[in-house]
């Protein structure tokens, strides 16, 4: 048992999987350079000690490197490809959306694509091109599993599950949750560290978790928003509102059962997601829950999300962009007050 940050837990997952399975390798920009940082957020730091040739530093060529990872995955290796900021997934979008997500299907199921993609998300004072939450965008692309760890425990377990999965898995990681240290630390970071068991474990892709039990309203959120939801639940408790917090952990596949069970109990739902409200994760969750459970709901589902704007730089405006505890509490109250 050891206390680890998400960055450390991810690194451990990679290290253990690289040792366990020779087919596993990491590929990305600045991930294994001697004297470097181990990627933008230190996750791959030192992994070249496991196997120098399995930590592959690429030129700045996102579409290329995801295509290279795809080619290697098709041939039976198990690459873990990353971008320094999720926003650069758009540079790789052709490979990710047109090839990685589809080639198994196009082959009639004859090909496997055991490929993990890692992408940091979240607004963190860097302006519009290093800030986006891309979960909703990739939700529109069938053929990729999507996971979103909010804790170090889940980060390690989900990454291991992803590496062992025979399908493409995209992991979104939140910059404010990494717990990166030293020169790579983030201001405004939230502690997401966990006690990590010494023994090997995985967190199943597609399984959510109840983070806090409650009776009056269900709040669902991933990544940073899960932590804000917990803070909101604390505050609501002081007002006598008992909020249940659900962390789906995976977006594809989604643990509808867990969420439905919660909503059957609370009859109220708040969906929190960083990123534009329109077309957001919250829309999918709200639509599906409404469709399946209209009779259980006693109030309209509330979506707490960002406005439909690019991410502004100035902290004043960025804080306005990012959903916060106040707004989550307000939405929860609204489901109850209505």
């Amino acid at each position: 048992m050891a206390q680890m940050t998400i960055a450390e837990a991810l690194r451990e997952a990679l290290r253990e999987e690289m040792i366990r399975d020779e087919r596993v390798f990491c590929i990305g920009e600045d991930i294994g350079i001697r004297g470097g940082w181990g990627g933008a957020f230190t996750v791959t730091l030192g992994l070249e000690k496991v196997a120098r040739e399995r930590v592959i530093d690429t030129p700045i060529s996102e579409n290329g490197l995801f295509g290279v990872a795809l080619g290697a995955a098709i041939m039976g290796l198990r690459p873990v490809a990353d971008v320094q900021y999720g926003d650069f997934l758009f540079n790789a979008m052709d490979q990710v959306a047109n090839h990685i997500a589809k080639i198994r299907y196009m082959s009639g199921g004859k090909i496997k694509v055991p490929l993990v993609m890692r992408a940091p998300v979240g607004a963190t004072g860097r302006g519009a091109q290093h800030a986006q939450n891309l979960e909703a965008t990739f939700l529109t692309i069938p053929g990729i599993k999507i996971v979103c760890p909010a804790t170090a425990y889940d980060a390690k377990g989900l990454l291991k599950a992803a590496i062992r999965d025979d399908s493409p898995v995209l992991m979104f990681e939140h910059k404010l949750l990494y717990g990166s240290k030293g020169a790579r630390s983030e201001s405004g970071a939230v502690d997401a560290s966990s006690d990590i068991p010494d023994e090997d474990y995985v967190v199943s892709i597609g399984k959510g978790i109840v983070r806090r039990e409650g009776a009056d309203v269900t709040i669902v959120g991933t990544l940073l928003m899960m932590h804000l939801a917990l803070q909101a639940a604390d505050r609501l408790a002081q007002e006598g509102i008992s909020a249940e917090v659900i962390d789906p952990r995976s977006l594809v596949p989604f643990d509808w059962e867990l969420l439905e069970e919660s909503v059957r109990k609370t009859s109220r739902l708040v969906v929190v997601a960083e990123g534009p409200k329109t077309g957001g994760i919250g829309s999918e969750i709200a639509a599906t829950v409404s469709e399946r459970m209209m009779d259980y709901l006693t109030a309209p589902i509330q979506r707490v999300a960002s406005p439909d704007i690019p991410v502004p730089f100035s902290p004043v405006m960025e804080n306005f962009y990012r959903p916060d505890v106040d707004r989550i509490c307000g939405a929860a109250r609204k489901t109850i007050g209505d």
Partner: protein
């Protein structure tokens, strides 16, 4: 170099098989029996046939949106391809791929990549897998002349170059990207001049001379297999059919087309074989007959084969 009659006739047969396959498919398509759209490669046969003749079992090619010739050259059966074109459940991609995604990894060809340039990084990655596993295998990436202007080409070739991977990039240069002449898309006399920008060898060859293609490919494939890194081969050929569907090719100057027909690879090779005494006219005729029969069988069998079930669409998304 001189080659055995057997080897030469095998090349010849492959080229004829491609030509006749394409002609038959075109006819089926115009008849309206065949769904979808098609990109065909009449006139370009010498490129994939010459290149694939230089490959060994275990080598892998990536194809383009114009993949029929590449697939046949690599060794897919016309039967499995014809079934795929008809969208049948036992096509080489079980009806999920279609013309533009023809391929069968077990036969050494990835389902073709119909996004222009998209196959370049993927082929590079296949080569990376060979390198990491220390397997003496080679990846060959086919692209068109238009494909060299995609960012994916740039990124993929550069990575192949810096890591000296066992991969060969072959431009099936038919002088047009859809309707766009190569001279309008690139400010170079020879597309192989792109190679210098990546620090790898590049060569422009007559892509209608199947033996020249074979020899160049053989050298490049051998270099790749021996750790010498990638080569960019610019094989100049011509598309003597439409870009797709019912394209009348009005953008190809008449004069140019006439000349191209003179240089078309199959007749040229036949003449050479006859001249060098490597084949008799009877042997060539026999090949044509056998090929036609093989294709006809494939058509009949494809027409009779069962369609997939609608719900089969739901399978094969995740492993």
């Amino acid at each position: 170099m001189t080659y055995s009659s057997k080897f030469s006739l095998a090349l010849y047969r492959k080229m004829v098989l491609i030509r006749q396959f394409e002609e038959r498919v075109k006819y089926l398509f115009l008849e309206g029996v065949m769904p979808g759209t098609i990109h065909q490669s009449q006139g370009q046969e010498a490129v994939p046939v010459g290149v694939c003749a230089a490959l060994k079992e275990g080598d892998v090619i990536t194809g383009t949106h114009r993949p029929h010739g590449q697939a046949i050259a690599r060794g897919l059966t016309v039967e499995s391809m014809m079934h795929e074109l008809f969208g049948k459940a036992d096509g080489c991609c079980r009806g999920k791929g279609g013309s533009m995604h023809m391929g069968d990894l077990e036969r050494g060809m990835l389902p073709a990549i119909a996004i222009v340039g998209g196959g370049v990084p993927i082929a590079t990655g296949i080569a990376l897998a060979f390198r990491l596993r220390k397997e003496p295998r080679v990846a060959v990436c086919f692209t068109g002349d238009g494909g060299v202007n995609e960012g994916a080409f740039h990124e993929g070739v550069n990575m192949g170059a810096i890591w000296s991977l066992p991969v060969v990039y072959v431009i099936e240069n038919n002088l047009y990207a859809a309707s766009t002449p190569v001279s309008q898309a690139v400010k170079l006399k020879k597309l192989s001049d792109r190679a210098g920008g990546y620090g790898i060898p590049g060569v422009t060859i007559d892509g209608n001379d199947v033996l020249a293609v074979y020899e160049t490919a053989h050298e490049a494939v051998t270099r790749a297999r021996d750790g010498g890194g990638p080569t960019l081969i610019d094989a100049v050929t011509y598309r003597i059919t439409g870009h797709s569907r019912r394209d009348p090719c009005n953008y190809q100057p008449e004069e140019e087309r006439k000349e191209a027909l003179q240089r078309e690879p199959i007749r040229r090779f036949a003449e050479r074989l006859l001249a060098e005494g490597l084949a008799t006219q009877a042997q060539l005729d026999e090949i044509h007959l056998a090929v036609d029969a093989e294709i006809e069988d494939a058509v009949e069998s494809a027409k009779a084969a069962p369609d997939p079930k609608p719900e089969d669409a739901l399978d094969d998304v995740f492993a």
